[in-house]
């Protein structure tokens, strides 16, 4: 589904990613862990097309297409979804209108007839229940005045609405209490199918107790320096990132 080869990315002359390789197949959950400032969010940004980097080289192939040549919105319409680390507040735009606009455009892109108002509302309410979202959240402006937990829940709600093929969760656990974490993780797990894939970017192992990964990658110094199963996350939690520094065969 996603093949990243030798990805180099720099911003303001500073190289962040230094030859990253990653392969994600349908049905898989990949966790990307690593200390702060190693390029985890940069990876999410580059996959989704955020245009703030000076220089990007390497290859990102998604469903057989060169992702680098696709517009931000087309990547989204092709099924890539990013759950933002810091969801943006959009005053004056209700979640209902926001999702309506997004789904209409995605349907048109895919050559489908957009849902009628009634169909949309029914679908909207189903997904709201699906992620245990409280009723009043839906009528408010996107993320405006939401608590940290509400914002993250709203991200997962949008994920349920858009039903992506490749979901990237960027630090979805940050700022969540244990109940919110459980609800968010439940939502993600319920959305898993053999056809879609998830990349979980996280600093801590905690989230991986709830969303169990097939692969754990350690991103350090702009590269993936170690890959293992779910037990690697536990080992990291136990030994800390210093262990990677000493252990991994990396040339920085």
């Amino acid at each position: 589904m996603l093949e990243i080869k030798d990805l180099h990315v720099s911003i303001q002359g500073k190289e962040i990613l230094k030859g990253l390789n990653l392969s994600v197949k349908p049905g898989e959950v990949h966790a990307i862990m690593g200390p702060n400032g190693t390029g985890k969010s940069t990876l999410a940004n580059v996959i989704t097309g955020r245009d703030i980097y000076d220089n990007i080289s390497g290859e990102i192939i998604y469903k057989g297409k060169n992702l680098m040549e696709m517009a931000i919105e087309d990547r989204a319409r092709e099924g890539i979804f990013l759950s933002f680390q810091y969801p943006v507040e959009i005053p004056g735009v209700s979640i209902t209108n926001f999702m309506r606009a997004a789904m209409d455009e995605i349907y048109l892109y895919r050559g489908k007839k957009p849902m009628s108002g009634g169909e949309f509302l029914k679908y909207f309410n189903e997904k709201k229940q699906f992620v245990e979202m409280t009723a009043n959240l839906a009528n408010r402006s996107v993320n405006e005045g939401f608590s940290g937990g509400e914002k993250k829940k709203n991200e997962i709600f949008q994920m349920a609405m858009l039903n992506p093929d490749l979901a990237i969760l960027d630090e979805t656990d940050s700022g969540l209490d244990i109940d919110a974490l459980r609800i968010v993780a439940n939502g993600v797990n319920k959305l898993r199918t053999p056809e879609n894939a998830t990349i979980v970017i996280t600093h801590y192992q905690r989230l991986l107790d709830y969303i169990v990964p097939d692969f754990v990658h350690v991103l350090y110094g702009g590269k993936i320096v170690k890959t293992g199963g779910k037990e690697l996350a536990l080992e990291l939690e136990d030994k800390g990132y210093e262990w990677i520094k000493d252990h991994a065969d990396i040339q920085l």
């Binding site: 919105e73 989204a76 959009i90 004056g92 606009a101």
Partner: protein
Amino acid sequence: MMENYQNLKQLFDGFFDQYINNETDSPLSLSIRKGAFEDFYRMGFPTNKIEKWRKTKLKDVLDLPYTINTSDRLRTQQQKSIFECEINNLDTDLFSLLNGWYEKSSENLLQGVIVCSIREAEQKYPELFSKYFDRMASDRSNGLIALNSAIYSDGYFVYVPDNVACNRTIQIVNVINATSRIFVNTRNLVIVGKNASLSLVHCDDSLSSFGSFVNNVSEFFVDEGGQLDFYKMQNKDEKATVITHNFVEQQRDTNTHANTITFNGGLIRNDTRVKLAGKGSHADVMGLYLVDREQFVDNQVKIDHAVSDCTSNQLFKGIVDENGRAIFNGHILVQQDAQRTAAYQSNNNIQLTDTASIDTHPFLEIYADDVKCSHGATVGQLDEDALFYMMQRGICERNARMLLMFSFAGQVIDHIKIPAIKNRISELVSRRLKGELSACESCELNCENPDSVMTFEIDMSKI
């Protein structure tokens, strides 16, 4: 025309003689006109030397030759056509002014509500007229107000008796449609009785491609317990100048909401002055301006908290594109006895190009000590993070920008209390942002006149 005012003086003298002869004005109004003209002759038109007019380039438009029509109506088109303005299709009682002249004879609506020409009101309702007319505009704080009081052609008069909740919205369309460049002075008077309420919609439209100058003065009196909602929509051609002075006086426990939506225009200046003269009153003064090309929109507000326990709220928002220019000047005056005042002011702007210009001046003048006041002014661009967020959900850049601009504008529209008007204005704002709304595009006259075919558009590629 106005380098010196000799021409205008001659014109006025002729005009004045005419009135004395045909007795269409009462002695009161004649003495007001005469005194006002002397004031104007002394003051002249406002120049850039006056601080509040520093950035309003009146001279450019005053230098043009105008026809001032003081007696005969300029009837050039079928009356039907003037109703084909963008703001129609509202369920309202509709009245119109054409080139400064009221277009219908008086009408007594249900509930004793009166809507008629100001000239007719002077004859038929002398007590109301003499009590209220020129009571506030007599401050003559600039020459245009004085000139209006001297040579106003006509205008509307609206009266809602005590204890009457006027259940129909009254809409007045002020249209310019002339075959030459005209200078028009319109004068309006609105009286809302005790515990009465009124919703008034005023539309400034123009169908003329010859240019025009509308110098409008309106006075609004709201008696104890009264309520007034006043919506103004301005969709003018780019050769049009509109200078409006609105004076509002509120007695005890009154509530007013003024909302001015400017879609298009050449040079537009709206000056609203509210005097909170009775305790327990509230005034909203709001506005939205969508400015592009070479358009200029200037909003001036003054709220005078003359007594205690009143509240006021100013909210103005603007989107300025291309070489458009916008000015906001908001003045809150809290007088010494006006304790427990709460007065808020906010002006937010989105500047879409480097060549667009925005000036915003909050001005608070507070003499009481138990007061809550706040003001905030911002000039910014569209939020890049929000754009990326929306595009990541599959929304194209054009629509993402549109949604952001529409939601920005929506924060003013949301305050409109009448659902039909709110929906209509929302739709017009959305069309204006998409570049689909030109000045009175649905009018047949525009199609016949190639000069006036306009495609005002916010250029999406730049925003």
